[in-house]
């Protein structure tokens, strides 16, 4: 059962730093949605560009190592 659970978690988390970065971006986008209700697209922009930045940064970090 532990093997199955560990492998299930592995479906979503491979590079821990990338997973944390994605969660941080979603958190920031959520904050933007709450703090700027009159400009809801700001949250969308944070989400989209934040995810793209997290992806590039994760690839660059792995490439350097």
């Amino acid at each position: 059962m532990m093997i199955l659970l560990r492998e299930l978690a592995g479906l979503f988390i491979d590079d821990g730093a990338l997973a944390l970065a994605i969660l941080a971006v979603v958190g920031l986008a959520g904050m933007a949605a709450v703090l700027m209700p009159n400009t809801p697209l700001a949250a969308g922009a944070v989400l989209l560009f934040g995810c793209l930045a997290a992806l590039v940064s994760s690839v660059a970090r792995t490439d350097r190592h």
Partner: protein, 250 residues
Amino acid sequence: MIANWGLIWPAMTAAFLASLVEAVEALTIVLAVATVRGWRPAGLGALTGLAVLALTVVALGPLLDHVPLHLLQLVIGVLLLLFGMRWLRKAILRAAGVIPLHDEATAFAKETAELRAQARRNEARLNWIAAFTTFKAVLLEGLEVVFIVIALGAGRGMLVPASVGAAAACLAVAGIGLVVHRPLARVPENTLKFAVGVMLSAFGVFWTGEGLGVPWPGGDFAIVGFAAMFLAVSSAAVVLARRPKPRALS
């Protein structure tokens, strides 16, 4: 109707391609076990895995109707981002040659070698180990397929098109596997993972935004724009990671 097709085709295609990759991986393990221990333990494990999977879907599926839509979109969106960007990152690194490509023929050889080594250590328990190996493979790869179908289909009533795409992929791989009895090493797995990673990440941004109340310009068609941006940035990342590295001083 046009807007519906704008969502139906990406959902169905993404489910088909993603399920194709998962089904090929499960087939490789089932074939490896069948080669070493015969079809009985391989088939028993695979069928038990499918049965547990079906029970899980039947038991948990109706719960989806009770989750508020915005919460469902947010949770599924975040899981899609974690899942899709993980695939995309690996596909970028493999395409750039930073990490080796996944090879079904190598995976098949590794799995059969492990089972043969276990056979030498403990012959009596081997049928159980073989059955558990296919059970685990079918259950885990199947759970990925179920997650992809739910993630792509649950937010906007697209469960049927996504399920059709996934079922078509699984049936195609099972059918070809039964005929050729060899791992499907010619499937361009990294290209598929790259394409699926792009699509899942685009869906992830869309659903997460919907869950946060973002009114995406263009509605459902925004997904196509997100996919184009992920594709452009990922392709650029492959080129940058592939650049000639400075030689280390010896």
